[in-house]
Symmetry: C2
């Protein structure tokens, strides 16, 4: 099965403690689609400006990602984000956001796009997410969001939650959305808002997944060098949805593997700027890291050594 993603295709100017890069290809739809393309066919719905040239297009073309639904607007630049990270790589500081072509983005989907069975609504305005969702006859719909939408368009976001199957967000976003410090309680509250499944991304601590009656959690792949966290969440979502679409399954065992493939793709993505690491990634590398995550988190049961108190004997 194939996947459709709607989101941003952007230029990022990024400074981390380890280096700096201007106008690198970024955006939620970019990271998502490159990651998902290792598993299945991907189609991108997004808008770019006239600065989106052959070099940027090649990143998608070389992964054979379908750009038929990529809208190009003349006379304007693409979305541009400028940010920096300190040594605590969990927190990005936004220095500048220029929406440009993205300000009037109004996704119009082709007939082929409307029939894609797996849909990912990247982190854009909740209202646009709903509009896209309504156009696609997907069998599984997942969405991301961020604190900006929780703060500024809460009603639209609550409405959006009624139209999706899976919400994939960060730890702090889950707590903020639910107004609950305890993640288990926050998850229960979010599940009551619409999505049947909640995936919580916890950065260096891994990921957790909740439904009304299941729970799964995994640690992250341990990395000594996190070079640039930009796109970690979207490459996670790309691995997650890409795997589910390829496996064409929505059962619990497949969902768990999807979480692991998401973690694997995110762990590779943060090793370099932009999609640089994903562009030269191989299936063997993905498989090896999947097996490593399994090996480092599994343990075997054995009879509990029960100390009997004398008074009990």
């Amino acid at each position: 099965m194939s996947v459709l993603v709607v989101g941003s295709v952007a230029f990022d100017s990024i400074k981390t403690p380890f280096g700096e890069r201007n106008r690198a290809l970024g955006g939620s739809a970019t990271f998502f689609s490159v990651a998902a393309s290792f598993f299945t066919d991907v189609r991108v719905v997004a808008v770019v400006g006239e600065d989106f040239g052959a070099e940027e297009e090649a990143v998608f073309r070389e992964r054979e990602i379908d750009l038929s639904d990529l809208e190009r607007i003349e006379g304007q630049p693409s979305f541009h984000w400028k940010g920096e990270y300190g040594y605590d790589l969990n927190v990005a500081r936004t220095l500048d956001t220029q929406l440009n072509v993205f300000a009037d983005f109004n996704p119009k989907l082709s007939d082929a796009a409307r029939e894609t069975p797996f849909l990912f609504l990247g982190n854009i305005q909740p209202q646009l997410q709903v509009e896209v969702r309504r156009q696609v006859a997907a069998k599984l719909v997942a969405a991301d969001t961020m604190n900006y939408w929780i703060d500024n368009t809460r009603d639209d976001l609550i409405e959006m939650l009624k139209h999706i199957d899976i919400l994939i967000i960060n730890d702090s976003e889950a707590r903020e959305l639910a107004g609950e410090a305890n993640l288990v309680r926050a998850a229960r509250k979010i599940l009551s808002m619409g999505p049947g499944r909640l995936v919580v991304k916890r950065g260096e601590y891994g990921a957790a997944m909740f439904t009304a009656d299941t729970y799964f959690a995994t640690p992250a792949y341990p990395l000594e060098d996190v070079f640039d966290p930009t796109g970690a969440g979207d490459s996670f979502a790309g691995g997650f949805m890409g795997y589910l679409a390829a496996a064409d399954s929505t059962g619990e065992a497949a969902m768990r593997r999807a979480i692991i493939y998401g973690s694997v793709m995110a762990s590779f993505n943060v090793e370099e700027f932009s999609c640089d690491r994903l562009r030269r990634l191989t299936h063997d590398e993905i498989s090896a890291r999947f097996r490593e995550l399994r090996a480092l988190s599994h343990f075997e049961e054995e009879e509990l050594p029960r100390r009997r108190l004398l008074k009990e004997v």
Copy 2:
């Protein structure tokens, strides 16, 4: 095999968002020994004042914990800690610390204590930890510490690390001790200081374990109600060391199970004030939560769905 613990037996006055309790039995040696007593015989080295009465003693007696090495000092009160937690239960705010009898604590061990094969050095002055360690012919020695000792007695702490097999500390303490924001790098640095194994407690995110060539991580047991986090780290250590002593093993598979038993004991301990929950805990409850942790973190492998690009076919 039996376990010896040196640490504090104290009174805690605690305020959390959910309630308040004055002069509850606490202290690292208390939480450790009650947790470990479910797995094996435990002996406590600590000092108490004249306010340690029949009620407090009963907590140890009912778990058949050996108090032969508990020193009692007349005319002085026991160690008393007063603290509070906000809704972010990860951070305790100390309101008052009265060392009392603990100020001149100078552990003198009985002959029986000196022959205990498993030793846990609770969170006390590093110099005292070394003195106790020198008196015990243990085959496995683990220790805890805290930011106070990292800040104020760093040289003594570095010396202490040369005398132990396993260091069991918090996430933030590991980063502070190593001066490294990245936990994998921090772990490598700490392992180079002496201990062959590092266990990192991550609160609601679980625990991680490092040696020079192995890595293990587990999520925490998901709790909706964390009532009082006091003693979580010590009950974790009690489950960890208690299991290892009972299993009489220091192999990797046993170490992994020990991490899980530690997580299980901590997860029960935080459900109520003081040792209240541990006092009425059963082996069946421990086993059930161990199996739950396994079920919620395990996943099965399957052939990776490899999407071949047309250009590769």
